[in-house]
Amino acid sequence: MAADIEELKKKILDFMAKKSKFKPKMYFKDLCKADENAKLREIKKAASALVQEEKVEYWSSGSTTLYSLKGASAKETATFHEEEKE
């Protein structure tokens, strides 16, 4: 059954708010954990809608893209580069 997009958006925002305390920037695969039963394409649709609503923003290294809550990634810039070196 297709997930309700508003419900999914709320789940994603709640998930990101919780995870953001430890890691502001997250991969798309992390967002998928917001609702394990939803299809990937539904998560993508909901995440894209949140970007349009300016609640979520993309962060891109040029080769990889991560998602963060609006304003959260500006405070934190080093994590991705540290991960990249690992």
Binding site: F28, S48, V51, Y58, S60, T64, T77
Partner: protein, 380 residues
């Protein structure tokens, strides 16, 4: 000299709603160098086969002088036009100009589908078995969401070459290589073959005319170099055992007036090329030997859906499709994910049968034996 860079790459820069196309670059000494505190790069989706008018290029350079540094890179590895160096507040105006004055869009970057790229195809090349530009344009338009809104584990590339000469190096650089081929016979013009042998037509379209290489020797320069040994002269006639042809294109490249690809054309689909970040560089591996690639390319797009669903589900963060195939196994991908029958062409090693098969006359005593006598010595 400390040999430290003062550039930081990556950031939240981008145009509204797009997750790709802009690569942020900042100076870590903005007070010292305020004019280059930001130096972001834009990737602009190039027209298929990179055909422009000079008027277009002049206008684009004027725009970029106005909105950015004026520095460009034609073209990036993916094929995009690269506009290097602008500030965050100039990104949206540049995108507005590109989309409204030039009918251009940003290309792919980040965990997106990257801008599909193709060779010149039928526009200028007689070898082309595909309308590469039509395929490139159709894929670009069909997968706009994948190009601009990132949700893949990592980058993904389509490249389309019209023939096995593979002028965009699709086999070396793309997750999905679409390479033109044919499944009937190479067309032979025997008169032209004789003209090459007689020296009336220069081999390789005259490409090696810088010095005297002697008279053209079809046996030495074509037939003996055929990787599958499928060519021979029958009197004055050139013969090809097309069943054995591996589409290396050598004979066609040497004698383009005499030999041409067949007419029943389509594409070979390969997966998994990548540059050497993990596990070393990898070439694409054959997945579909022949597909017709006729508009609207439904068969190909059904294949893409299966491929992407699997990769999005199973791919680790920053794992390319080729690496996932390597990790989970080619046979699993072909049989379980794509639902295709495995064929000998999928096998890299061994390419010849490793098992010895004996004939009766080669075995002492032949196939007949006394079973009771055998059982007396061997328990069942």
């Amino acid at each position: 000299m400390h040999k430290e860079t003062h550039w930081k790459h990556g950031g939240i820069v981008g145009v509204f709603g797009y997750g790709g196309g802009v690569i942020g670059r900042y100076s870590d000494a903005p007070e010292q160098f305020p004019t280059i505190a930001h130096f972001h790069t834009l990737r602009v989706n190039q027209p298929a086969s990179k055909f422009y008018t000079s008027r277009f290029l002049r206008k684009l350079c004027d725009m970029w002088d106005h909105r950015g540094s004026g520095v460009t890179n034609f073209h990036g590895s993916t094929g995009d036009m690269i506009l290097i160096g602008t500030s965050t507040d100039n990104l949206e105006p540049t995108f507005y100009d590109l989309s409204h004055q030039f009918d251009m869009d940003l290309g792919g970057s980040g965990s997106n589908l990257r801008t599909p790229a193709c060779c010149m195809g039928k526009a200028r090349c007689e070898y082309s078995c595909l309308d590469t530009q039509a395929i490139c344009y159709d894929l670009t338009m069909t997968y706009q969401d994948e190009l601009h809104r990132p949700a893949f584990p990592y980058k993904f590339k389509f490249k389309i070459s019209g023939c096995p000469n593979d002028c965009v190096a699709a086999i070396a650089r793309s997750c999905t290589s679409i390479i033109g081929t044919w499944r009937d016979n190479i067309r032979i013009d025997q008169k032209a073959v004789q003209a090459y042998i007689g020296g009336e037509i220069a081999p390789n379209a005259g490409a090696f005319s810088d010095r005297d290489w002697g008279t053209f020797d079809i046996q030495k320069e074509v037939i003996d170099l055929c990787p599958s040994g499928c060519m021979y002269m029958d009197g004055n006639e050139l013969k090809i055992d097309d069943r054995e042809c591996v589409r290396c294109m050598h004979c066609i490249n040497v004698m383009p007036n005499a030999l041409r690809p067949g007419v029943d054309c389509g594409a070979t689909i390969l997966n998994g090329a990548k540059a050497p970040i993990l596990e070393g560089a990898q070439m694409s591996t054959l997945i579909i030997p022949f597909i017709k690639m006729e508009y609207p390319y439904e068969e190909f797009k059904d294949f893409v859906d299966l491929m992407w669903d699997w990769w999005m589900e199973e791919g680790k963060n920053r794992e390319r499709l080729g690496e996932l195939i390597q990790r989970q196994g080619l046979s699993h991908y072909i049989v379980d994910i794509l639902g295709r029958e495995p064929i000998p062409q999928h096998v890299r090693e061994p390419r010849s049968n490793p098992y010895p098969f004996w004939k009766e006359e080669e075995v002492p005593g032949g196939w007949k034996r006394d079973l009771a006598d055998f059982r007396a010595r061997h328990l069942a």
